[in-house]
Symmetry: C2
């Protein structure tokens, strides 16, 4: 699994992921609930932002959350302890080599993970191995190429392009949302069903302007400023212009982004 996680692990980033999880929870998670007693695996739990949502929405499920990064897991453990949640157990593990028996889980779940991987196929293959025949796979990913806005400027486009290019340089794919269907189909999951989850923002939706446009998307782009300039992808003046142009849509323009959620079944005969 790729260790050069583009978003970093600092406190600001952890705060951003909290904001993002809260604003988007209904859109992304409203249709995910696991029955009491079922075994659920989350691979790539990071600092536990999505794990907390899973645990709250499926309080009777037996959730196992794994991540390769010990420092992220420490944050995740603290987060879940603070919530007084008892149905989550954490393990440090590589998502492509999980320490679980074949067909151990009723459900497997990944969110904002595959975009960071050079070979998402290897994690999907491992998820298929540990999933019961007919069990459910849920995958949620973004697609930065789905972003557009009004008004849209060349500089605004360029700063978003920097994020996509940096993620590609790390071996990831910031445009993975659009290829979830082919990925899961080729990984031999069954009954693959993908639905777009569309964020549409205009001045009649001020909570989304703040919660998504400013504090999620523009914050995410802003976080790679130094990397983008150091890599020579953009000069500092254009960067400032581009971020300013994105912010200028708030209160007068529109902002568009699409996440993708895939649901599939583990093969009934393997």
């Amino acid at each position: 699994m790729n260790r050069s996680y583009i978003h970093g692990y600092d406190a600001l980033e952890s705060g951003r992921l909290d904001d993002q999880a809260h604003t988007l929870e209904e859109l992304l998670h409203h249709d995910t609930r696991y029955p009491a007693g079922h075994r659920v695996l989350e691979t790539g739990c990071g600092t536990g932002a999505q794990t907390a949502i899973l645990a709250r929405r499926s309080p009777g499920a037996r959730i196992t959350a794994v991540d390769i990064a010990a420092d992220s897991l420490a944050v995740a453990r603290k987060r879940l302890e603070a919530m007084a949640v008892a149905n989550v157990h954490f393990h440090q593990a590589d998502g492509a080599r999980l320490p679980f028996a074949d067909h151990h889980f009723d459900h497997v779940f990944v969110c904002f993970l595959l975009e960071h991987l050079a070979r998402p196929e290897s994690v999907l293959q491992e998820l298929r191995r540990v999933l019961k025949p007919g069990g459910s796979l849920t995958v949620i990913e973004g697609d930065h190429g789905s972003f557009y806005c009004y008004p849209q400027t060349a500089a605004g486009r360029q700063v978003v392009r920097c994020l996509i290019d940096l993620q590609a340089a790390c071996g990831g794919d910031a445009l993975i949302g659009r290829r979830l269907y082919p990925l899961l189909y080729r990984a031999r999951f069954e009954d693959v069903r993908v639905t777009p989850r569309v964020v549409y923002v205009d001045p009649s939706r001020p909570a989304w302007e703040e919660g998504f446009s400013r504090n999620t998307f523009i914050a995410m782009v802003s976080a790679v400023e130094k990397n983008a300039i150091d890599a020579g992808l953009i000069d500092p003046a254009d960067w400032r212009q581009g971020i300013g142009d994105l912010k200028a849509t708030i209160g007068r323009g529109t902002f568009h982004y699409t996440f993708f959620k895939a649901l599939a079944r583990g093969p009934r005969s393997s």
Copy 2:
């Protein structure tokens, strides 16, 4: 109103608009029904593809459909006569200078019209004039900049760009969907509410692959081949490559497009 209507008026085009209207009817029109006896104006009815849907879904409404082009109106009249619909009356008129009294209509409706206009504001102003205070405005438009696909190639992007550039050269804006909110807000409509209507296509949705990807979107792009090549926007080999690349997504990739539907109220005091 701009007369150089980019899509042309030939029989093939009329067939394409039929396919499009049928495939997209639920997505775009499911939430538009007008009460019996209410006066409804459709501006820019063209050959009547949307008019037929309005008339069928609101059989008791008194629908007036106007277009500036006599030949389109002739096709529209025949279409509605064939349906044995009696609640539609047609008028040839410029949408920016309507032959109706102030506050004459309970509802006004435009679909795939504003994208073709150099000054959509003048049509909106006229719609506001003929609309009763508190009456409803419905606007449906596409946004060709919302299109993306997987796999996506430079040539595939270029042929779509040709359509956008040709529409701009005619004075239109193929990216108008994203600016419906600001347009309607500045035109002093009230309670403006815009919702994206997202077309997501993958091989699990073969009816959408045929009905939308191939027979609506790719057909629409293909229709401007001669104009694009004559205008020097692209060479013939790149055109063939681009159209081929778009078609190659069918059966194995994904296809994405967003329409926008705006609902608003006429000012209660004007």
